[in-house]
Symmetry: D2
Subunit: 338 residues, 4 copies
């Protein structure tokens, strides 16, 4: 951490800064500069965020953090990529994993039909929401446990592990008793109570980036899960909110190489929620593979025009099949398996 | 809701759209236009969000929603402004309410000292966090119930009602047993489980806008609380996330007149979190009063440089006292009491 | 400027960094840190931006600029506030200056009618566009020189100095021969050819912030004008582009206290373009006064429903008159004249 | 265009709206709705933007535009993709075009060295800036005509057509006398004087999207060029400004499929400026190819650590060569030539 002093800072103000740093059990180096002093803080890292209050001291212009605030999520701490096994599907080891299924589980016919289609097309994990976070209290909120049971049925029938969202820490044990991967959604990326709770469960966690989450904050959210003991976290870029409204959100594919430089955790991409329109899902899926994502999560629905949620962004089974063929070929060209 | 057809849409596609609208029990009018048809949907509003799936049908260019999706929060539904009473403090009746206190409750000395100062300066509600949402799992997480007890002590000592944040639905009853107003923070504005839970409690709710919540989504979040039966919701603008980094967030003061046009709920402003820097808090507070806010919530700390959280944005007691004098004079000029 | 080295940087990489800094004629201090070295650059500031290329060297994590890149615009360079005189109107000396008029000059009746109304209501400068920057090539582009002549006529008739936009460096001399203040619009805030040209003219420049201009970039644009010798620059906050669409742009009133801390230049506010809706103009104008702006620029049109541009955001003369009364009273309370 | 009336609108207000529409020589259909009337405007499209002022009339809630405001750029107007020929390079016909070269032309050695390297690696157009738009007036502003001459020399030596930026309409003829493609930069995307001027030149125009430009505004800017008679416009996505700071801008790859649905113009991608860091250029380039871009424009510098501008985002020749091999293979897999 560096403390940049104002040009007009006095020696007394300088001394007070040094005293305060020492009072937090840190050491420091004072560097004379052309536009005033800079103070470099040295020390062991515990409670380092408290140093931010130095900004309150007279004569201090700003406090510049130098090292990353996450530890367990950092590639500096753990040099090998994390890979994790869900049944016989391995995520993060170079193979490209495709998760697919409906936004919401609506009924048995719809789910079984979709599961069959995505399995045949080559997806290796089934997605489907039983608890749905909806902007409106009047919108379909999901089938709840009934939906979880249908997911379990589809899993045993088609041999596809299941990923489904959990909205509240109170439901974590229930959802974990059915699902293979627990999804924490974009709106809950800083629901710290939920993050801590899924951190204490022995199931992998698919943690979606929030619409407003910087990559550093995102890794801090992953850190919450890791710090509770659960090391099986999968990151997922799903679009950020910007001024552009031509797509529902702006898919931030740069996030993939940036995250790969900072963390050992696997990273997948959700083009369906980012685009909000099925037409853009195939090209964005291919771009996600090309940019180096470890996998994709894609919405598929046999009858999008009747879907209870997110119909406009769902692929039909035959569209998904064609996309999977393209994905397989691109992956092959890149020396990767699907 | 209006369905805009593509210019090249065929009669068959048009017919399918009309059939689908009827299958949802809605009526419609077809309007010929120069660039193709537009279909106006008429009907009773239940499940209207499902009509969004019409976007999936061939020949449909886009679906334009016309009426607002919130009902109970809407000024169309309830024409009189909502005002609510907390002990003998009334919020929303024209009087300007100032809530003030530390970001976090740290210890008895700090809290009592701050409470005394803000009371003397003229604040009418005490703020202070016992459960803290922190980006880092390694940062101070608040004193928990111990903090709630200190808040209750300060209340009985100084006669100030207390507002404090609740992070998780599991803690709602506990927090409600101590606090006068339950705060739902910016990161939880779409934590629907929490919104539903505080909607079933008989305490007013201070619902902060999220950093990336549109005003329409924000009112939908308020609708979650109202729909559960709790009609005492206070809105709070606290800055949105933009590209500008000179302030922590960008205080969106336009939100006040926009919200006043759409909803009957009272709206206050939090300049401290928006600015992230105590120096900007006084001018932004005056601007918030001038723009028509029903109140303010301001961070005050006797020793900001030792604060365990948010020190850089906290006013010292004497700075707060001077600000209160300015606020009182401006309010007086506007014919309002503080 | 500080060079943060990667944790794993080698001594050789460190040496190369130091060599490169010296090759640019700068000195440096190497500071050992817990997570690797930090190098503080010292020296005389010429060509400092070139040091950014140190990011290319192996072992360098990032380059952190410390001092502000603008000089002439900086409050550090010139401690007294700049104020400037336009006829007998002084801007920046504490008095609140209100500029008002139509978006576009449309014809003589419209302009004279508006000029009379804003003069009577207490405005001291007349605004009106003769060259209009329009998103569409098919929209009304302004009356050109004919509009400038009408503005000159209104000035001589009502004694109001005139501010009007110049779109292109080729028109600068023409516009300057009629106008008292040259406006550079939001879309041209980084049109450096235009900035240089108005910097060589002896007329004050009203430089609007761009919709996506950071405050630092904004001051750099002012620096372009100042560096050419024209020291009479007026800044103007007019809303930034964010995700929120309830208003046309988001008025960033925090920019006023932030800019006042960094620069000696006067700063006014344009609530009309920010809001895009006349209903929000009065409360935002009062907020701008309260936050400390040196003035306002407001759109007024006698018949907004017939305006050739920006009708929806224009106040009618009687609405403007009522607003001026409120502004005068608020200014009076703040000890300022209008 | 649709006029949505307020729920409480009266018959008189309704009549006034209809009268006003007729006064603009448009027809209309009144559609009764559950929440008040909607009025659909019909007519021939001239001056349609003026209908926006209907928002000023009492009883009108909002005005919803239905059809796109650009004509010549629209795929509805011209169904076949535009392709254009620059020497023997064809852009937009399915082949993938790679433009590469230094940010700025610095001297003959640097330019010739880079030109040789990019030619050998397989680029087909040489980029290089002679007039540079720089945030700071104190930064290197380009070599001007001297730079243009060096570009012409490199062209004749290596047989590579040249693309270079023009900053001001005054320089258009000069730049056009040397360059094969005129670049209009991101900061000038709404410099309408410049757009009109390059629209009157017989050279293709590479029009970069602004950091803050919505796709609709972007196509309107292209429309300015097309409307002046120049039909050879190449679009270029180069990153938009968002809250995320991990990359310099956020590359919006979704823009490619969205634009391809709306316009017949070719679209290329600039990953270098978007990322601001050479490390992210290769994966983003591959993603751009996968998403369907017609080409790439990439910064290459033989000695990035000595570059006078944008060094941190420039690839070295050997990095560029390896990237070109990957691009060629991916293109081949997609059935495209490079």
């Amino acid at each position: 951490m560096l403390i940049v002093m104002e040009e007009k800072a006095t020696q007394e103000q300088m001394d007070e800064v040094v005293r305060t740093i020492h009072s937090f059990s840190y050491g420091c180096h004072v560097i004379p500069g052309q536009k005033g002093w800079v103070v470099g803080v040295t020390g062991n890292g515990k409670g380092k965020h408290r140093l931010q209050v130095l900004e309150c001291l007279p004569g201090v212009e700003r406090v510049v953090p130098i090292s990353s605030p996450y530890k367990l999520a950092s590639l500096e701490t753990k040099k090998e990529k994390t890979f994790l096994k869900v049944s016989d599907v391995v995520i993060g080891n170079g193979r490209l994993v495709v998760m697919a299924g409906p936004c919401s589980v609506e009924d048995e016919t719809q789910l079984m039909e979709t599961a069959r289609a995505v399995k045949e097309a080559g997806a290796s994990i089934l997605r489907g929401g039983a608890f749905k976070p909806r902007t409106s209290p009047y919108a379909f909120q999901g089938l709840g446990e009934e939906g979880l049971k249908l997911l379990a049925k589809a899993r045993s029938h088609f041999g596809l592990p299941v990923v489904t969202e959990v909205l509240d820490q109170q439901d974590v044990d229930l959802v974990a008793s059915y699902a293979d991967i627990l999804q924490v959604g974009a709106r809950n990326v800083q629901n710290f109570a939920l993050l801590k709770k899924v951190g204490r469960v022995r199931k992998p966690v698919l943690l979606k980036r929030g619409m407003m989450t910087s990559l550093e904050e995102y890794l801090m959210s992953a850190e919450y899960v890791l710090a509770e003991g659960n090391r099986d976290v999968i990151l997922c870029e799903r679009g950020i909110r910007t001024f552009e409204t031509a797509t529902r959100n702006t898919l931030d594919l740069s996030a993939i190489p940036v995250l790969k430089e900072k963390t050992h955790l696997p990273i997948i991409v959700d083009p369906s929620h980012a685009a909000g329109n099925w037409k853009y899902v195939p090209p964005l899926s291919l771009a996600a593979v090309a940019v180096g994502a470890d996998g994709l999560i894609i919405e598929v629905h046999p009858w999008p025009e009747k879907a209870l949620s997110d119909g406009p962004q769902s692929l039909k089974p035959d569209q998904f099949r064609r996309l999977m063929e393209d994905i397989r070929q691109m992956a092959k060209w890149m020396g990767r398996e699907v």
